[in-house]
Amino acid sequence: MENFEPVIIAFCCHYCAYTAADMAGSQRLPYPANVKIIRIPCSGKVDALHIIKAFENGADGVYVAGCLEGDCHFKNGNEKAARRITYVRNYLEEIGIESERLMMVTMSAGMGYRFAQTATEITEKIRKLGPSPIKIAIAQ
């Protein structure tokens, strides 16, 4: 896999991370095009199925971006999401995918800089990890 460019799916909560992404745009902050954003109403809406399907299709990394702790628009969706992420990470390990490829991050709607920074950091992290085993298998 020469010139490896990771594909990263970011499930972004409408009330925080998605707005933060918008903020990053209006502040003209650059972040890697590797991150593909899917808008969801709350990080608690992200199903284990969506995460697994992303990896199955060849995602190198997935992260769920929710509100800061205690700031969830729907009371505790972000906590539920964090619990689910921990669960799915164990499951990923079991099927032979590094659990580091799945992350939960939190930010508020005003944190455009944090969004761009997180996107850059995660892209670099996944780039170091290399292509996901499923992607290698698809390519062969």
Partner: protein, 440 residues
Amino acid sequence: MAVASVIKAQPLVDQTLPINKNILVVGGGISGMTSALRLADQGFQVYLAEKSNELGGVAKNIFKTLEGDDVQPFIAGLISQVKEHEYIQVITGAIIVDHSGMPGMFKTGMQIGPQMFYRQINHGVTVLATGAIPNPTKEYALESCKAVRTQLETHKVIAKTPDTVKEWDNIVMIQCVGSRTADNPNCSRICCQTAIKNALAILEINPKARIFVLYRDMRTYGFQEEYYQKAREKGVIFVKYSQDTPPTVKPEGEQVEVTFTDAILGQKITVTADSLCLSTGLIADNDSSEELAMIFKLPRTADGYFLEDHVKLRPVDLPVPGFFVAGTAHSPKLIKESISQANAVAARAQTMLARDSINLGAAAARVDSKLCASCLICVRTCPFDVPFINADGYSEIDPAKCHGCGMCVSECPAKAIQLMQFEDDKILAQLEEIFEKVNA
């Protein structure tokens, strides 16, 4: 991606709810009072809640604007209009303590007065006009030396005791004190024109005074530029300083010695000033705005100001339907800008209040009774206790009560629930589409 999900889109039915036409305005400064008056003039019942014991806000400390308009008579007029208005109920000494309900019918509880009487208000629209506070910085010997004042304090001296100003020979003003720094990167926007305003007022009283304005960037935006030019013509000396080499201040009895580097001379200059005015600007009132943001579930910027839903498309709306923001609660602003925004809020709120129902969109969870196993997981998951097992033995979700978070959807083991507008097949279609492009 978006197109891929649109292919899977289904016809949706908007949910509507009746709207309560009462308005709660939080904050009794110029912005809050202006919004309240505009809305009450249209015949809507307004509750104006103010934390302190009197109306007026920070503007009570301002006497003249840059253009020379008198502020105090204006505020006094505003206060008496608000107090006398048949549709405005003023609640002073009120602290917001709880908030519940859904768009169109909110319930906000507050504790009022020294006895902390609890009162609940039903309303459909909320206007946040909680303002900002003068930055309580202690830089440049502000607390220890009498000759050092903030611009707000200087403004009061000019307005109340002009004789003091006559005794000032040298006046130094330092801009960007406590703002545009690592701790507070925010620009206060209003300080440049405040410095010009005070400099011109000082020269009016005492034409012989020498005024030095030490600035990092002078931003007298719009037509304020004319006053900047006027100040230069009148002999106010503007000296730029860089953040790395700020001026140094040493109290000398009744006076202060201010030392700064003149970029043109390339030399250090010391001025013995009779008055040192610090442009400390405004900062968000973190104590109250953090609490209100938690109670009302509203986002704030990194600086602690309330964040509008969209900078360009929805500049006075907050993300929760029925919530609006005006004045310095949103960002530092001049009085006239706060008034414009308060009027904008009143106009936006009327677009909601003119109707009898509020449209909440179609994002509500729907249960497929054929798949439901009545396992109660949705009942336990829902943060708002909406799902229940109906007479037929299946989970039922009232779309009018559903907030549309989708938590039950992701928990449901039988995949019997779908959140309209965010159906699973739409999200999966987006994923497929991304990889179709990438893997091709």
